[in-house]
């Protein structure tokens, strides 16, 4: 078993699944010869050839719609959108088609495809290269949305996503691409979609997050050692693991949600609504959100203060516990 970073773990998942299942094909801009701008698809072209690792022209709706046609024809396309900031152009094909093929044909056809895209801020990138856009996709019925926060989960969740008979948007927190390594087994294991994970057990307050912000929350925990925090990594945003949230909040009575997506209509609001609906009587304090602001993600000079950080999270935890 090797220690891998997230890029390597995703690459390994692709290698293994393509080896195992000839229906899996990879397509996108620069995914072949170049191995992807983040090298996530490195080596795939050499190993599987240009019929299964397809460098496409520069067209995001085109990639998405083509993948749909492939998926209904029995392939399992894994398409890459080079940066999440260009995923807006996939929304029409996803919302109008990919997500509805099963529904519209009453199960006679379905659309097993994955769209992968690097996600979110924190790497001092150009405009449109640091955005957190999950809301647009979570809000599409029939689509699933996944954001891993560790190499291990990244591999396991990607395998589940590729094998899932329905379309999945798989976002890769680019800040974590090479941030750390951990043991990632070779070969068969999956992390099921729709299941969150408790990272710490605690009684005072539940902290909910996903993607790169999970690591920020862990940092924050170091700053509030006197507080017993239950940290939950949702991992899948759609479908949501309501159970893990409600069980925890019913126990702690307090909750902080941390995400880099803008506040208004970020997923945190929806989670608060669910808590309100299903754990109202358990709540001892308002649920707090630590989020991106309702502004376009600023260029790198101001990016750090834009993003949630350990201090902001720690303060929110303290305020919630001492409400």
């Amino acid at each position: 078993m090797a220690k891998l970073n997230m890029v390597q773990a995703i690459n390994l998942a692709l290698q293994e699944e393509m080896q195992k299942d000839p229906a899996v094909v990879v397509l996108g801009e620069d995914v072949g010869v170049d191995g992807g701008v983040f090298r996530v698809t490195e080596g795939l072209l050499d190993r599987f050839g240009s019929e299964r690792v397809i460098d496409t022209p520069l067209a995001e709706s085109g990639i998405t719609g083509t993948a749909i046609g492939m998926a209904v024809s029995g392939l399992k396309p894994v398409a890459e959108i080079q940066f999440e900031g260009f995923s807006y152009m996939t929304i029409d094909q996803l919302a109008a088609h990919a997500s509805r093929i099963r529904y519209r044909t009453r199960g006679r056809y379905h659309c097993p495809m994955v769209i992968r895209a690097p996600y979110g801020g924190g790497v001092k990138a150009l405009e449109h290269h640091s955005e957190a856009v999950a809301t647009f996709f979570i809000h599409i019925p029939g689509l699933k949305v996944v954001i891993p926060s560790s190499p291990y989960d990244a591999k396991g969740l990607l395998l589940s996503s590729i094998r899932d008979p329905d379309p999945v948007f798989y976002f890769e927190p680019k800040k974590l691409y090479r941030a750390f390594r951990e043991e990632v087994p070779e070969g068969e294991y999956t992390v099921p979609l729709g299941e969150g994970k408790k990272l710490t057990e605690g009684n005072n307050v539940t902290v909910i997050s996903w993607g790169a912000m999970v690591r920020v929350c862990e940092e924050a925990l170091e700053k509030v050692k006197d507080i017993s925090v239950e940290l939950i990594d949702l991992r899948t945003l759609s479908p949501l693991d309501e159970k893990i949230i409600m069980n925890s909040v019913r126990k702690t009575g307090r909750c902080v949600i941390v995400h880099e997506e803008p506040k208004t209509l970020g997923f945190g609001g929806e989670i608060i609504a669910r808590i309100n609906e299903k754990a109202f009587l358990y709540l001892e304090a308002p649920v707090k959100r630590v989020t991106g602001y309702d502004i376009p993600v600023p260029l790198p000079k101001l990016e750090d203060i834009y993003l949630p950080d350990a201090e902001k999270v720690a303060q929110a935890i303290k305020e919630t516990v001492h409400f």
């Binding site: 993948a67 046609g69 492939m70 209904v72 044909t105 006679r108």
Partner: protein, 358 residues
């Protein structure tokens, strides 16, 4: 070194049948009488199907409906060039192609009466209609690319209108097809209007066929009211596609004789005289003249056909109207497995319904 012409490109026009029932001797496709008769019959059934739909809509028994009146040659000619294994991707006006491809009329009516339950893609590789204009172009390219990867000797045929050529997805799809040399036939039914917008205002190019040149493959403009020309062009394009020659764009030059849909009033944007001119070019009448000369058509054949077709259609309508949709289907087919969320929402709705029944 200085200024010089580096590229010569051209577009052809194809027509085979004239209005007197004569086919060009060299271009006439070698079709047996049975096949010719099938073409005719399907064109007639399509027209009756269409007409019935309009009547039902007026009586409030159907949703908004877009008739394909006048486009029967474009639709039937191209449809019968396909093999049943080929993929068919429609826009929303391809009733004729759908009927030719063997989708039961009952299912077509159920869909246009307002239920997805009919979208079964029966019998084989008949995609559901695409309401958002041009989105289906990409699906057809993807299916063709998949066929190539899977080494299946099939092609995909995608239908769209003149208006659809303005959309980004048309462009991205055409370009992918050119780059990957996918076995795709792009059938553009240029019926001269996109709702109220006349063809000349849709794009400044002289033909739609020439748009293929931007993607490095052939475009041809075909007399879209000539079922033989459309058949020939589509057959040739499919042959080319399946032998590795890549995609073709076929512009069927035709006319939408009816309104855009039952919600539309064409008198707002076009002259009656223009419609009249095109009515004279009726593709069914034109083909009938040819068949009559060939001894395939006569009045008693027509009477029998009309009677049989009407009966078939009445039966389809009756069955369609007897169908009532299944509430649970709304929730059951969003994902392969119903999610806890959706289960909860479904149960809540079923609770409401049960309560109301009480």
């Amino acid at each position: 070194m200085p200024r010089k012409k580096i590229l010569d490109l051209s577009v052809d026009w194809l027509s085979i049948l004239d209005y007197e029932g004569n086919a060009d001797k060299i271009l006439e496709p070698a079709l047996d009488n049975e096949t010719l008769e099938k073409f005719y019959r399907t064109m007639v059934i399509t027209r009756l199907f269409d007409d019935k739909a309009l009547k039902l809509q007026r009586q409030g028994r159907m949703l908004t409906f877009g008739s394909c009146l006048g486009q029967e040659a474009s639709q039937i000619g191209s449809a019968f060039a396909m093999k049943s294994d080929d993929w068919f991707f429609p826009a929303f006006r391809e009733h004729g192609v759908q009927i030719a491809r063997g989708i039961p009329m009952k299912l077509l009516y159920i869909y246009w009466m307002g239920s997805e339950d009919a979208n079964l893609m029966l019998p084989h590789r008949n995609f559901t209609v695409a309401i958002p204009v041009s989105t289906q172009v990409l699906h057809a390219v993807g299916a063709a690319l998949a066929a190539k990867i899977q080494k299946q000797n099939i092609a995909s045929v995608v239908y769209f209108g003149d208006g659809a050529t303005s959309e980004g997805d048309f462009h991205e799809g055409m370009n992918f097809a050119g780059v990957f040399k996918t076995p795709t036939v792009f059938v553009c039914q240029n019926n001269q209007y996109a709702i109220s917008l006349p063809r000349e205002k849709q794009t400044a190019s002289k033909t739609l066929a020439q748009k293929a040149l931007a993607y490095g493959f052939e475009g041809i403009q075909v007399d879209g009211n000539d079922v033989l020309a459309v058949y020939s062009a589509t057959e040739a394009a499919l042959l080319k596609a399946k032998s590795g020659g890549g995609p073709t764009l076929i512009e069927c030059f035709t006319y939408r004789l009816g309104a855009h849909t039952t919600s539309d009033d064409p008198t707002r944007y076009r002259k009656k005289e223009e419609e009249e001119e095109w009515r004279k070019k009726d593709p069914i009448k034109r083909f009938r003249t040819y068949l009559e000369k060939k001894g395939i058509w006569n009045q008693s054949y027509e009477d029998k056909l009309l009677k049989e077709a009407s009966e078939e259609i009445e039966k389809a309508v009756e069955e369609a109207e007897a169908y009532s949709p299944v509430v649970e289907n709304m929730f059951k087919y969003v994902y392969a497995e119903i999610t806890p969320d959706l289960k909860e929402q479904m149960d809540e709705l079923l609770g409401f319904i049960a309560k109301r029944k009480r």
